[in-house]
């Protein structure tokens, strides 16, 4: 039977992996990332509706890259990140062994109980709850119906405002930003060796958490993730001042789909959105 325990044990005993990046539970409603490198710790591994973190963020880290074959627990959404990382030459498919399961959503944040209203927003609109790309599947219950997503309606809400209102909205949200960069650090696709905000010659994005610098930072970040964000929502979850970053990402996701019929991280080898072009790209906004 394919429970997590057996799979992991087997992987180690047959030397199919040198490391498994997984979750271990702290208490009934909390888990944290764990790095299992041998049979002993296998029994710590859990994979449940409290497995919030998108572990693929670790795959691009130097100390992790050292391993030859890495097993990783990944939900459908996390796998999109892995696929995108592969498509961006950050990791090699052969080196990664994806252990996944059918997913019925995770909770918004640690400490909450898994139930209808605590399910994370991203899960409600998730199209890959049964993942398309993976190596091993652990036994998991079938998909059940989740509550209707609200994110797109929130996006429409903003779209329906006047530009001035929108600007004020974001100015207020961004002015809260304290530049702890938790959003960046938690993002699996923010793997740059030196983030643009850390580049000081020239000082494209001022490092002071002033309103305008925060505005620039959050915009550029959203732009750098356009067509790359896979909507795992970690940035918003980890934000200490609750800036609705998912709104930005969702908007750009919608744009990518409407303009280019493009969804990120769905298949390995698909051409990236930025970096390619089509003669038919829409240009009715250009004079």
């Amino acid at each position: 039977m394919n429970n997590l325990y057996n799979i992991a044990k087997d992987l180690f005993s047959t030397n199919k992996v040198d490391l498994i990046i997984g979750y271990k539970s702290i208490d009934s409603r909390r888990t944290k990332p764990i790095f299992v490198s041998s049979n002993e710790d296998v029994d710590h591994l859990v994979f449940n509706e409290y497995s919030l973190n998108n572990l693929s963020v670790y795959l691009t880290r130097k100390d992790i890259k050292k391993y030859n074959k890495i097993g990783i627990l990944a939900k459908g959404c996390d796998i999109r990140a892995i696929v995108q990382l592969i498509n961006e030459n950050q990791i090699e498919r052969e080196k990664i062994l994806i252990i996944s399961k059918k997913c019925n959503g995770v909770v918004k944040d640690f400490g909450l109980e898994y139930n209808e209203e605590n399910i994370a927003e991203k899960c409600k609109s998730c199209k890959v709850r049964t993942p398309k790309v993976f190596d091993l599947m652990i036994d998991s219950e079938e998909e059940k119906k989740l509550p209707e997503p609200t994110i797109s309606s929130r996006v429409n809400e903003l779209d329906s405002m006047t530009p001035e209102e929108r600007f004020e909205f974001w100015r207020n949200e961004f002015s809260k930003c304290i530049r702890c960069y938790a959003c960046r650090q938690a993002c699996p696709l923010c793997y740059c060796e030196r983030c643009i905000v850390d580049k000081n010659i020239p000082d494209w994005i001022e490092s002071s958490p002033t309103q305008r610098a925060n505005f620039s930072w959050n915009l550029i970040r959203a732009f750098h993730l356009s067509g790359r964000c896979i909507g795992c929502g970690e940035c918003e979850r980890v934000c200490p001042v609750d800036i609705p970053l998912s709104l930005l990402n969702a908007k750009m996701g919608i744009v990518a789909f409407k303009e280019f019929n493009y969804a990120t991280g769905m298949e390995i080898g698909e051409p990236t959105l930025v970096g390619n072009y089509s003669n038919e790209d829409n240009e009715d906004f250009i004079k």
């Binding site: 888990t31 530049r179 702890c180 960069y181 938790a182 650090q185 001022e206 490092s207 002071s208």
Partner: protein, 330 residues
């Protein structure tokens, strides 16, 4: 100590607001704090959990200008900052937050007197509140505090039915309440010291840290750390800052003092490209060592008040208390 009716206390607050003081109180179930314009906005609740951000930004803002400059072809003229004298009164600070102010004031005053900090700190009056909140992240009693410890507060409140018990603990506090003594009823109440059984031996922790600078333990506990600055930025005692210049017109600019965090990879990056704390483990070690050893060695104070914010908010659920416990268990 004194007893005072809640409504009388409110009267005092309104009075203070009228006389142009900046009153800070909690909002949104204690998650945030804000300036209030009337005592109705006042919310004094001993069951609040520590706010998401700590109170430190009142005396140590996330960003503040140090001076302004104007450069022309042949010279540069500087313009200094004038500090405003507005009084700030914080109402209902938790013991763990109240203590933090006095703790960091040490580092801002040990050789160079940082007036940017002092000007604010001196004008800040902290009214502490006995805390009745505890969760798996709190450990104030392990760092020499308790839910009713009054360190750092100028005035301290305890709830008692429709009344407050009020302790006046400092000159600042005394002067503040001077005009309102009429509202206060003197009362003797032997304040019982809440019994604390510590499980952590801080000396042991310190010596272990000293002896195990290169211990693999640092790597093992910080492996999942993402290296974001969240813990430091929300910490009431973390006080690192960065200084940058930025110009706003072609000729004019200003020098800024911004929060910084030792968890950032670039924090210790030298111009040469060398980075003494090149991996997260070393940065995490720095965080622990600074809080529980270095700062103590220098000021014999811990740089931690056990508020548990960093653990509560950590994206990957690293619990600093667990770490200390582990060290303690070695």
């Amino acid at each position: 100590m004194y007893r005072i009716k809640k409504q009388d206390f409110s009267k005092i607050i309104d009075e203070l607001i009228k006389t142009g003081n900046r009153i800070i109180s909690y909002s949104n179930n204690g998650n945030d704090f804000k300036r209030i314009n009337s005592s109705n906005e006042l919310s004094i609740n001993s069951n609040f959990k520590p706010s998401k951000l700590s109170l430190k930004e009142i005396v140590f803002p996330k960003t503040e200008p140090l001076f302004y400059y104007k450069r022309t072809n042949d010279n540069v003229e500087l313009k200094d900052i004038k500090f405003d004298s507005e009084k700030t009164i914080i109402i209902g600070a938790k013991p763990c937050d109240a203590k933090a102010f006095s703790t960091i004031s040490k580092v801002f005053n040990w050789d160079y007197k940082d007036n940017f900090f002092n000007s604010k700190y001196e004008n800040t009056i902290i009214i502490g509140l006995k805390c009745d909140y505890k969760d798996e992240y709190c450990f104030c009693n392990e760092v020499g505090l308790s839910q009713s410890s009054k360190e750092g507060s100028d005035i301290f409140i305890e709830l008692d039915g429709d009344d407050y018990f009020i302790y006046i603990l400092s000159e600042k506090g005394k002067n503040l309440l001077q005009p309102f003594m009429s509202y206060l009823i003197e009362e003797i109440k032997e304040s019982k010291v809440d019994d604390i059984d510590n499980i952590i031996d801080l000396n042991k922790v310190r010596t272990w840290i000293t002896d195990n600078f290169d211990n693999n333990f640092w790597y093992s506990i910080s492996q999942e750390c993402l290296g974001c600055g969240k813990c430091a930025f929300i910490c009431p005692t973390c006080h690192c800052f960065d200084i940058v210049d930025e110009n706003y017109t072609y000729f004019e600019g200003r020098r800024m003092k911004n929060w910084d965090a030792c968890q950032f990879g670039k924090f210790t990056l030298h111009a040469s490209g060398h980075n003494p704390r090149d991996i997260q483990a070393k940065r995490y070690r720095q965080r622990i060592a600074h809080k529980f050893k270095y700062y103590f060695d220098k000021f014999d104070e811990l740089l931690c008040t056990g508020c548990g914010r960093c653990s509560r908010e950590c994206p990957v659920s690293i619990n600093i208390f667990d770490v200390i416990k582990e060290i303690n268990a070695k």
